[in-house]
């Protein structure tokens, strides 16, 4: 009776620990459970060619199953995308919540949060790429759900900025919401220029981005 993945839970059951999809081997297609395989191949293909340019046929071929199998687990192509979003959002929200509630100075927490989101965005670079290009291709209702989750994430981050301003450690001028949009623009943009085989490791980029953010906030 557990047909069709609901957007809340993971489709296949397991907790798929550390399923970094950024590295993207080109379609092994025959290992692991079917829903996971479908999700992994879909992620890879959506990142590579875009959501609209990736046909369901291509996905099932890459996963080594038939279309019927895909529609047994996912209600629609759109559902696949939603599931991919859900996975990333859950991961990043959990990590941010963990960092935001630590008993350390804001400065430190915001620096860590910034660095962390850069690292996980790079580790899941395919998801990151998909996120901004394809959000508007979700059905309106699913888009709304994703935006709501995303907003919650942003609000947590913004609260850190506000805390720093109340503390007096940060300059009072910048509007916290603009700071958030400013920084996450940079993060979301990673997918368009970062390459795993480039000169910089994820940690190096994270350190620099975190540093740029902090300097833009701190009192001189």
């Amino acid at each position: 009776m557990a047909r069709r993945a609901t957007s809340g839970g993971s489709a296949g059951g397991g907790t798929e620990p550390g399923a970094a999809t950024g590295s993207g081997a080109s379609g092994s297609g025959t290992t692991g459970a079917v829903p996971e395989r479908l999700l992994a191949e879909a992620t890879r293909l959506f990142a590579e060619h875009g959501y609209d340019r990736t046909s369901v046929q291509e996905i099932v071929e890459a996963a080594g199953v038939t279309k019927g199998a895909l529609y047994h687990y996912f209600g629609s192509k759109d559902d696949l995308l939603h599931e991919i979003y859900g996975r990333v959002l859950r991961l990043q929200t959990e990590r941010l919540d963990a960092i935001a509630t630590r008993p350390t100075p804001v400065t430190e927490r915001i620096a860590e949060a910034a660095a962390d989101v850069v690292v996980t965005s790079i580790q899941n670079l395919d998801d990151t790429k998909i996120f901004f290009r394809s959000m508007h291709q979700l059905s309106p209702e699913k888009q709304k759900a994703v935006r709501a989750e995303r907003r919650r994430y942003h609000e947590t981050f913004r609260a850190l900025v506000e805390e720093g301003q109340r503390d007096g450690r940060f300059r009072p001028e910048p509007r916290p919401d603009l700071v958030v949009d400013f920084f996450f623009g940079s993060v979301h943009h990673l997918g368009t220029w970062y390459h795993a085989d480039g000169p910089l490791t994820a940690e190096q980029v994270a350190a620099e981005f975190s540093d740029l953010l902090l300097h833009s906030l701190l009192r001189p």
Copy 2:
């Protein structure tokens, strides 16, 4: 057979003065020259629904012409997109070049350049939206051309950062190329959150973004 607009030059001829597409009139479709109308409606529709989700039929209906007319002026749907890119790139490159060569301190030039690209991105918000979502939907060769133009733009900006670092006005630590990617991520992201009817004017956002960038670079 020699009837099509070459993809490099502007299709209709003129310099389309002040063709701000951000405000988005909802498809009057009967004023002005045919190629301009097509380009304007295509821009609006691509921004609203995405390139792949916009059919040629919708574009010609919005522009009040027939398909034959579109294919008379543009070689393909893809050509329309390329033309939109060209327009925005030319505009921003010209403006940056003008600002970068002014005889003022780097600090001032970079602040102005940053503010200016925010303002023109907001004024042409539809183009901005299209830019990131649809790049990969261009044909490989056109993509290459756009990327090359974009790179030139980034290099000019990066040169300003480097100049500031050589000057000693900017902190030496940040890698100039990362600064550029950091800042332009924020700019490109404008399309996903800025709304003309929101609480902030283009100039306010420009001032804040420019300020954040400067503070992230200046020596404390």
Copy 3:
């Protein structure tokens, strides 16, 4: 492999007493034996959406079982339809035979037979609806079987008409077979206009139809 119900006999065994489907309870799905429940829900859904528009999935969901269960009792979707036909045909044939052999004047017998088929058609309105819309969706061989049973029914009715004409009670002009087609057209059509919550009871319609038939036959 010998596990499927043969298409001739009733699938579940018993005589399904008073299984009037016309009233159409809206899919409780958990009372009674599985095959009866499947048949009842299938009848309701076929009448509502048509045979081709009703998926096996919908039937089993309405009946609260799984597909495996359906295919355990019925060889195919087509078998379900055939079973529905069988049920209604058996019922009406039995009743007509009983009436036709009574020791009363033809006039009376034909009036009763006409009224009776109207009442039972209305009581099983879902079956009536299905009968005409879906005959051609049966497999050719099953179609042939149903037609044969139907023909037998019509012949019994026609014999009454002929008897009335030989008697001299009925006008000699009408061709008995045309009379049968004339009248049963009206009966089959009930499904397209009769509603249980309309102004007329089944008995009122039966009385009128019977009256119209008799007047069309009787000598003036």
Copy 4:
């Protein structure tokens, strides 16, 4: 600009005089205008296999065109069906209106109307078959439109019955609306038993049906 057939007008333009589809040659497919050919083949196939069992592919193959051509003229498969309905309804409504307004006694008018609808139903037997089997496969809104037109037809016929009852020529007992449903049931049923190569001509059936109707109404 005249894309897509509107439900009011005939798709191809012409008035297709006397386009009797009942005889049904098996798919010449290359004569006449494209929309007419599509409509003719669709009518034949829908009558033969039912609406749901006829694929768009089969229709276009029979008509000797491609799917694109079909969708150039008709918005959907559903539209084809609606167009077929419109054609028949227009024809029969016109004829009934003409007969109903003649300056002859009701008895005569109703006899002629009854005979005429039988003849035209037989001449367009494919349409007649389709009418009852496939009505519920139309989209709800189109169904509503067809029902409204049908109701108007029935009301005109019912008015004749009422007139005859007021006149005193008809028995007062039968409810006029039931008479209409009674008779049109018979007419609609023609498609399930009448064959052009059977023993009866359309006119013979028409005469008998008309006679049966009249005798059921006239005072004894």
